[in-house]
Amino acid sequence: MIFQPAIIALLLASAVSVAMLFVAAPFALQIIRHWDIRSGSERQLQLERRTYLFSTLAVFVMATQLLSLLLFVFNADKMSEMFVGAMCAVGALNVNAYGFPALIAQMTVFFLAAGWLAVNYVDTRAPDYPLVRIKYAALLVLLPAVAAVLWLQLEYFLNLRADVITSCCGSLFSEDTKSLTGDMAALSPIPAMIGFYVALGLAFATAAFHAQTRRGGYAVAATSIVAFVAALTGIIAFVSLYIYEHPHHHCPFCILKPEYDWQGYWLYVPLFAATACGIGAGAVQPFRRVESLREVIPQVSARLAAIAAAGFLIFAAVATVFVTRSNLILIE
């Protein structure tokens, strides 16, 4: 274990998130069991008051996950100097088998929380709170997910050995590596670009279509997820190359560094926001036939889809600007 402030901070944040949800779990169970919106009994009034606490907690956990995602990447990047062969975050995450899973788990929790908040939002717009039981059952699912993040982080940090020789973005994302990430990097720029723009265009079109016509809500979520993966692939396969102006530097994290003027944030902020909104728009779809939500859901999901469309558009535009502005020539 490496004793470092940022590591302690990350573990603290995860532990507090888990503890909060854990303490809240019994109350969520009470809501599932005793909820009766028609009743004016004091127990019902108490339960209703508790719902405010839970949505505040969920927002808090989600914000924490997002911030600690950033801190996690920052920290991995800084730790890289302690490992032989590691030159950036990728190397540090590769020191043991838990680095990347921890990162992915954290992103997953973030998107799950985004979906939950979308459902919560529409539910509180209907006077009979029709989704209360579903919502709190889902909150109970969030608990193991957050706990998994904590566990993966613990395993990752406890198993850090400074003398391990690790591979860095040079080898992980270089063309001759036989791995998924290697394959992502090995994509030659033209198919990667085509995939990138097609997926983003599709996600944008679906979201914009849904915002206009309010149809195809599930498709918004599906294309958002696909676009998210395609966008990350595109960043690894070619966008990062243009930013670094180096034909073999495929790292998705180094673009967050000050050396590259923090250009990565211009990409990741709209991408994450758009994906979260797209997932949110999909998450509320199963309930669109619920009587009291007939009006609410199309409105809310249209708004979320509009944000998602704007986010994907900004992301694609920013990526295009980075590519065209670069001095690197990949495609003759």
Partner: protein, 378 residues
């Protein structure tokens, strides 16, 4: 959207005025909060600056340093040793170095005597580090004498004082001519302290080191990147220990925040009751209270951080230097290069704002769910 922004503005307005109305109560919390940020930020800024200082020094160091060991202890490099290494692929330059420590009983400190590679110091002259110059009141063209190992007193003329830029390593440094060095320390002719190897290609360093230890089994190659890593983890570790010690303070602070947030005064309770009765919703009250927490956090964070910045970079961290530095006998005076690092700010945020917000969440909710009809029942 516009009305949403307008609403948040109203909430912030109200929060600000309610904070100002209870100035005394909030000031206490703000002071404690800022103090916590100050202490943590000082520790972090200071160790980060030290870490960078060390990195800057190592930047100029040779890629590989070869030491000879006798029974596990550092010994002199005998004549002919360097020739044995001879030509090695990847090695640009091989050079024997001469340096050593000297205890000065006048100021009770250790100096490092070193012969510069370029032979730039003339016979009878010295170039001294800034801390040492300060301590002994030396400047260019003044004289100084030290008692040599032979017992006789030897005088030198100060040719120059080293620049201040990176003081931590050069503070106690004295550059001396090779002949003077050998005479002063009775250093056997042809011997060296260690061997520095310059390796151009970073990927070759490990190969060179492997070859060296095979060729000269009684030697120990020290790699620059290993040194860098050692220093980095040493400082991280110190910073970590410091934080672990301070975690008790963080916990105490979180408890204080919880107490403060849940121990609402009768006045505040009445106020929330009124707000609920006249048409504020539970969510509105929670939002208002979260703004309050956010504003307090932001103020404390800024105050504490700026104070820590001044403390570390303007005054040289007088409160923490002895704990965090502690690796040189002669303390350099600190004019650390100000560095702020995103990771550190984010970490600091997690250690201060995060516990605060987590601690006040439940009390805020509890205050906000006051019955709207409570004011009418009392």
């Amino acid at each position: 959207m516009k009305s949403w922004i307008e609403k948040q503005r109203h909430l912030i307005d109200f929060t600000l005025s309610s904070l100002l109305r209870r100035r005394g109560r909030n000031l206490g919390l703000l002071v404690v909060y800022s103090l916590l940020v100050f202490v943590l930020a000082s520790a972090m800024l200071y160790s980060h600056a030290l870490r960078r200082e060390a990195a800057v020094i190592l930047e100029g160091a040779p890629e590989v340093v070869l030491q000879r060991l006798v029974a596990g202890r550092h010994d002199l490099i005998p004549p002919g040793y360097i020739d044995k290494i001879g030509q090695m692929r990847g090695v640009q330059d091989i050079r024997g170095r001469l340096w050593g420590y000297y205890y000065d009983s006048v100021v009770k400190a250790n100096y490092t005597f070193m012969v510069p590679a370029d032979g730039s110091v003339a016979k009878g002259a010295l170039v001294v580090g800034p801390a040492l110059a300060r301590q002994r009141g030396l400047e260019a063209n003044t004289g100084v004498s030290f008692r040599a190992y032979s017992g006789e007193l030897r005088s030198f003329i100060i040719a120059d004082v080293l620049p201040q830029a990176s003081e931590i390593a050069s503070a106690d440094l004295i550059l001396i001519n090779e002949d003077d060095f050998r005479a002063f320390f009775n250093y056997p002719a042809g011997h060296y302290t260690d061997v520095a190897l310059t390796v151009a290609n970073a990927k070759e360093v490990r190969n060179v080191a492997n070859k060296l230890s095979k060729l000269l089994p009684d030697s120990r190659p020290i790699l620059r990147e290993e040194m860098q890593r050692t220093y980095a983890s040493l400082f991280d570790w110190r910073e970590g220990i410091m934080l672990a010690l301070l975690s008790a303070a963080i916990l105490a602070f979180a408890i204080l925040a919880w107490e403060k947030a849940s121990g609402l005064s009768a006045d505040e309770k009445r106020e929330i009751g009124i707000l609920k009765a006249i048409g504020w919703e539970t969510g509105d009250v929670i939002r208002m209270k979260l703004w309050e927490g956010g504003l307090i956090s932001l103020t404390a964070f800024l105050l504490g951080f700026v104070a820590a910045y001044v403390h570390v970079f303007k005054f040289g961290a007088p409160l923490f230097a002895p704990v965090l530095k502690g690796w040189a006998v002669l303390y350099p005076r600190f004019d650390l290069v100000p560095v702020i690092d995103g990771l550190q700010v984010a970490t600091l945020f997690f250690f201060t704002v995060f516990p605060y917000m987590a601690a006040v969440l439940v009390p805020i909710w509890r205050a906000a769910v006051t019955d709207p009809d409570a004011v009418m029942r009392s």
